[in-house]
Amino acid sequence: MIPALRRYARALARDADIADDLVQDTLVRALRSERLFLGGDVRSWLYTILTNLNKNRRRSLARRPQFMPLSDNNPDASGTEAEGRDIARALATLVEEQRSVLLLVMLEGLSYREVADIQGVPIGTVMSRLARARAHVKASLEGERTTLRRGK
């Protein structure tokens, strides 16, 4: 479970250290929670905690706009292939909820129902977020291929 959580966190937050911080906070919260196991299975529950922690983190970042990355010049430690960078860059352009839905469904293999529970929204909302996310990433990937790359 931890490796899968790390994968999700990395794709969600991009920065490897921030991602592992998120995972650590998630685990600590899960293991110490007084009101553990509010429902759902453990896996969904952990994804829920992580998703919410990241939302909070981004909210606090938003209060300090000078730290918001404008473009992704973040050298990814692993994954050097061009395709990998493209997809990471495309993900970065998504709004938070859409990125989370896309990753939970496409990368983590969760069902629409599970994602709806994680985000606390109806299944219909999950589906429309997913559709918008896919359209956006597709456009982003296609746009990138046709745009001349600047040096760095």
Partner: protein, 258 residues
């Protein structure tokens, strides 16, 4: 065949790619895609997107987990049985790593059986919990008779758990029909009139984690164990309270199995 004439929607295309589409509709979508190259191209691009995501991020699953994330370091004082369960689940999944993608098909099939079950459990709860004079067939004062009778009719050991620790007294129980044969139904009540019901039925599911489901004002925590599904249902109760009751039931059902 007639379905083939129903146009495939955008939502269905996504559901198709994500294995969320009902099996009987899949061939319709496939026929549609064969006839609509634009949609086929989009579906293909989504698949390529999934592959790109896995190509980019799956290597993280194979990385050694950093020391600071090791469960032993994070667990300081396990407080209750759930901590053990969570830790065990985490540990079990470490071996499995990124099985989410692979196990997709297998896990997707499971909820439907349990969904039907929770619907029955909630319906029974709604039907009888409002009864003042006839909420049960066998009153709680005849607990051992109730247990023997339900065990005999259901075919598995039905026990009326002791929930006085949670402030609940056994009102009694009844036998109910379900799609999987007989089901047992027991009602508990607190001094303030708050009612909880426990519904059990046979199930294909061997064993599952405790899960939560809600419909309207009713909510339930349910789990499967040894081919029997248990649901603890309440109305308008907060999750903490429901969790407390369900855990008490769970603990006693566990002991039964030895």
């Amino acid at each position: 065949m007639t379905d083939r004439n129903i146009p495939v929607t955008e939502d269905e295309l996504h559901a198709y790619v994500d294995n969320e589409l009902p099996a009987e509709r899949r061939s319709d979508v496939e026929a549609w895609l064969a006839a609509h190259p634009d949609d086929a191209e989009r579906v293909q691009s989504w698949r390529a997107m999934a592959e790109a995501l896995h190509a980019r991020y799956d290597s993280i699953v194979d990385e050694a987990v950093p020391k600071r994330l090791e469960i032993e370091r994070l667990v300081q004082q396990p407080r209750r049985w759930v901590v053990g369960a969570v830790a065990a689940t985490l540990a079990a999944f470490i071996a499995g790593g990124g099985t989410g993608w692979m196990a997709r098909g297998a896990t997707a099939a499971a909820p439907s059986v349990l969904q039907t079950f929770t619907v029955h459990a909630i319906e029974a709860h709604r039907l009888y919990v409002v009864e003042v004079r006839h909420p049960v067939e066998v009153p709680g004062s005849e607990r051992s008779h109730l247990q023997q009778w339900l065990t005999k009719r259901c075919g598995w050991v039905v026990r009326a758990p002791e929930l006085t620790g949670a402030g609940l007294k056994l009102v009694g129980g009844r036998l109910l029909p379900s799609s999987a044969g007989p089901a047992s139904f027991m009602m508990y009540e607190s001094a303030s009139g708050e009612r909880f019901t426990i519904y059990t039925a046979k199930s294909e599911a061997e064993a599952t984690q405790m899960r939560f489901a809600a419909e309207g004002k009713e909510s339930t925590l349910f789990w499967a164990d040894d081919g029997v599904v248990y649901a603890v249902v309440s109305t308008g109760t907060d999750r903490g309270r429901l969790n407390q009751v369900a855990q008490a039931v769970y603990d006693q059902m566990e002991k039964k199995g030895g």
